[in-house]
Every structure is written in structure tokens, then in C-alpha cells.
Symmetry: C2
Subunit: 309 residues, 2 copies
């Protein structure tokens, strides 16, 4: 491990702590929540995630210094504490989607990150409500985030909604019944994963008050990176199981999951992931002024598709 | 049937058509939604509801003419077409809550208004996603509703969230396990039903640009009316089954549902409902200038707890 990598990992760990403190604060300041519902929301919200999405938002905000493109017409920028609230909201949306994904009617998972899933730790009805409640709370928090709050809400609702994350989940379900091609996999990954990653970068831009064109550029860069991130996930599912379980590739195929590995093979999927990741990195780099904050964000962008777990 | 009643019912039917056209427009203009998900959302959205909530919002907007309290400092008023979009968003939130309520893990209902529920017509996973998608879409629409959009989102997210509607559902679940008193029933009804009814009146006020105090007053009046509305529902569950099924009171009690009828008996529950309804009507009347629009809204308010089905 090089010194640079070590420092970067320290920065990630420290930021993770910042995000978790913000999430605790938001949950605490939401009064009048029934005890069991609050416990179920907290169970999933503090289940040891990487906090990739909120950190992407914050580090994009950090990297968009005054020299960034679209900086000339800054409008309605917010301070870092407010950007942190938006970051917490994004993590709430991500967490709600995991709770509902794990339900018996969906992926039927009993464990997540080594802990019982929400419907196992509580019950199915409570898990449905905990997810519903986290989605609403996320929008309540976003609505409080400064002069461009309605833009934050609009972007988040689209990314998380029926033409974004929820739509991707539906396509993923539909795909279990049929043969899929690489384009269908792309549509699924674009909805399920990339829409929310693109959102994080876009919201970092809105929080810095950059113009709409730059916000759209950040969103597009995030979508490339999101596709690469999901591509890496599919690859890891195969390579990690080869190493640790001595299994041959095919676990996702057996589960009927739509992945690029399944439709075009390991090597082609690896090349595709690399291509998407590089494209996203390049697009992102062009939008950011030079500096330490840019390097840190680009290192995170690289990690997203080069990671080993 | 008096002529006045007839006219009022015509107005309701006509407004219902307006709301349904608006809902169709919102769903149509949301591009990129997977076919099956769109069909599931439409199935529940166009299932023949009374459209009480959106009509309450619109008629509140109508009734708040220029002479209304809080009119002196009007800020960020919107036209009726925009108020109608907010009304459609509120109906989407209500519909999503019904879809999730009907799930096997929740109330396990196979029919709603004589048609198969969403998870029966489609499947459970699609029903979870259709509900999730409608909630997100509702916030996307609200975020587009004029200069006070972030206030609309904040109020809606609170009313629908873990300290509002979703919280009420959780308390209702919890109550199935234990003995409840009248105050617990009140807390459940306040969350499950009254929060969203209060929201409708409050959003009508925000749409007219009235001040915060008047918005709060409208919300409070709506909460009384919402409690009375739910009280009437509980009473009908008993009296309607007596008349149509020849059953004696006790259906809700057998299902373990928390109602005032169950905890304090039919007569006390009837008095309580009347008290709440009158209180709500009085509070609402005080906030509105005299005129035809006020009379129409007050007639709707009365119908909410005096209705026979």
C-alpha cells in the first residue's frame, strides 16, 4: 500500500464518520416517529455501508472551487453543512432501496453486510414502512437545503423514481423471465445504479451554485462512473466467488440476474467496465479545477471500478 | 335529494374528472418508465377513488379569495393549473399508501373498490415498486409547483413521512398486538389519515400565497376534519355491515383494528366524530371569506363525517 493510497483511505474513513454523524442528527431531529419504526430505520441506516454516494456528493462539492466551469454564474450556493444534509438525504434514499430490495417478494435476502436484513430483524410490514419513511424523510431534508432546494428535490425524485432507480429495479425483475442483451443490461444498470451515482455529482454541483450545463455534465460523468461501478460489481461477483468459494463463474447467471458478464463473457465485460470508468473519469476531470480536492475525487472515481471488493 | 345537494354532487363529479385528467397528464409526461411498472401505477391510480384529497386542496385554493385572512402578505401564489398539479401529487401519495397497505405483509387485501389490488393484478414485487415510484413521482411534481415549491415538498414529506402517515401505519400495526385506549386511537388516526387531510388544506393555502400562520390554521382545521373522517369510516364499518350483511358490530374488533367504536362504544364514538367534525368546520370557516366557494368547501367538509358510505 502506497502512502497516497493510505492517505486516501484515511480521508474516506474520516468522511464516513462525518456522514454517519449527519445521518444520526437527521434521524434524531425528526420528532414523533413511533419507537419501532425509528428502530427499523436506524437498523438499516447504520448497517455499515461504504457511504460512497454521500461522499461522492461532498467531494464533488469540495472539488468545485471558484475556478470550476460554470462558476461565473454561480447561483444559490450552500455551505458544506448544507451539502452534508443533502448527502445524508441521498444515503437515506439508497438505504430505503436496499430495505425494499431485500424483501421476500424481491431478492429475499436475510443478511446484508453480515447483519440481519430489516424484515428479518423486525418484520416485513415494518420493513416496508421503514423504507417508505426513509424515502419521505429524504425529501423533507432536501426541501430544507437552501435556495435551490426545489431543484435538489426535482433531480433526486427523478433519479430515484419510476424512470430512474425504481424503473431499473422493475427492468431487473422483468429480465429474470427473459433472455437479455447488452443494451438491456445497460438500461437496468443505468436505472438501478447509475442514476443515483449521477445524482450525487449533480447535487454537489447544485450545492456549489454552478450553472445548469455543468450540473448536467456532472450528472452524465456520474452516470458513466455508475455504470462502471455496477460493471465492477458484476465482475467481482464472479471473480470473488472463484477465489473464495472455488466456484466457477455463473452464480449471477444461475440466479437469473442480468449482467454483462452473462451476456458477453468475462473479458468483454472487463473491457467494457474499463471503458466506462475511463470515460466517466475524463468527463469529470474536465469539469473540475486543478487541485488536491480534484485528485481526491478522481481517486474515488477510479476506486469505484478498480476496487477489489 | 335537495337541489343544493344535487348541485354539489355534480360539482364533485366534475372536479373528479379534472383531477383524473391531471393524473393522466402527469403519468404520461413521465418518460422512460418501464411498461409493466407504468401499467401497475396506472392500475392503482385509476381505480375509481373519490379523489377527496385533491378536491379538498383545489376547493381550498378556490375558497381563499383575495379577502381571506393572511391575504395581505400574499407571497408566491400559483394559478389553478399549478394547484391542480399539487393536487395530483397528493393523490399519488395517497395511492402509493393504499398499494403498500394492501400487500400480503400488511392488510393482505385482494380487492379494492371491487377491483384486484395491485399485487394481485401484477405481483408483489411490482406492487412494492409501483408504490415507491408513485411516492417519488409525487415529489418530482411538487418540486415543479411554483416559487414556494420547496415549502410544498417539506409539508408533504412531513405529512406522509415517519412522523405522519407512515408513522400512523406503524402504530396501527403495533396496536394489533396490544390493548389500546382512545388516545392511542387518536394518534393512529392522526397519522394514518388526518395528517394527509391537513396537508391538502395547507397546500391549498400555500398555493394561494397566504402567510404561514394561515397555512398552519388550515392544516389544523384539516386535521380535525381528518380525524372526523376516519371516525365516520369506523362507524360505517359497523353500521354498514349491520345493514348489508346482517352482522352485529364487532368486525373491526375481530380484525384487531384500533377504532374509537372498539374502545368506547358506538354512541361515544358517534359523539366524538360529530365533535371533531364541527370543530374542524368551524376552524375552516373562520379562515375563509364569505362566498359560494366557501359554502362548497364547507359542504364537502360536512360530507366527510356525515356521509353514509
Amino acid at each position: 500500500m502506497t502512502l497516497a493510497t493510505e492517505r486516501w483511505q484515511e480521508a474516506m474513513a474520516s468522511e464516513r464518520g462525518t456522514v454517519e454523524a449527519a445521518l444520526r442528527q437527521e434521524l434524531r431531529s425528526c420528532r414523533g416517529v413511533p419507537v419501532r419504526l425509528r428502530a427499523a430505520m436506524a437498523h438499516s441506516l447504520f448497517g455499515g455501508g461504504k457511504r460512497l454516494r454521500p461522499i461522492l456528493l461532498l467531494w464533488t462539492w469540495d472539488a468545485l472551487g471558484p475556478r470550476a466551469r460554470g462558476g461565473a454564474r454561480r447561483r444559490g450556493a450552500v455551505d458544506r453543512a448544507t451539502a452534508l444534509r443533502a448527502a445524508a438525504a441521498v444515503e437515506m434514499i439508497h438505504t430505503y432501496s436496499l430495505i425494499h430490495d431485500d424483501l421476500p417478494a424481491m431478492d429475499d435476502d436475510v443478511l446484508r453486510r453480515g447483519r440481519p436484513t430489516c424484515h428479518v430483524a423486525f418484520d416485513e410490514a415494518t420493513a416496508v414502512l421503514a423504507g417508505d419513511g426513509l424515502q419521505a424523510l429524504a425529501f423533507a431534508v432536501l426541501a430544507d437545503c437552501g435556495p435551490r432546494a426545489s431543484e435538489l428535490v426535482r433531480l433526486a425524485a427523478r433519479a430515484a423514481g419510476p424512470a430512474g432507480m425504481v424503473g431499473g429495479q422493475q427492468l431487473d425483475l422483468d429480465a429474470e423471465q427473459t433472455e437479455v442483451d447488452a443494451n438491456t443490461v445497460r438500461r437496468i444498470h443505468a436505472g438501478k445504479t447509475a442514476a443515483m451515482i449521477g445524482l450525487c455529482l449533480a447535487l454537489g454541483g447544485v450545492g456549489r451554485g454552478v450553472d445548469e450545463e455543468t450540473v448536467a455534465g456532472l450528472g452524465a460523468a456520474g452516470q458513466w462512473l455508475g455504470l462502471a461501478f455496477q460493471g465492477a460489481d458484476d465482475l467481482l461477483d464472479v471473480t470473488a466467488s472463484s477465489a473464495t468459494l472455488g466456484k466457477t463463474p455463473g452464480k449471477d447467471a444461475a440466479a437469473g440476474k442480468a449482467t454483462w458478464v452473462r451476456v458477453e463473457g468475462l473479458e468483454a465485460a472487463r473491457r467494457r467496465t474499463r471503458r466506462l470508468g475511463r470515460r466517466g473519469r475524463r468527463a469529470l476531470a474536465e469539469l473540475l479545477p486543478e487541485g488536491e480536492e480534484r485528485e481526491r475525487l478522481l481517486a474515488l472515481a477510479d476506486y469505484m471500478w478498480q476496487r477489489e471488493r
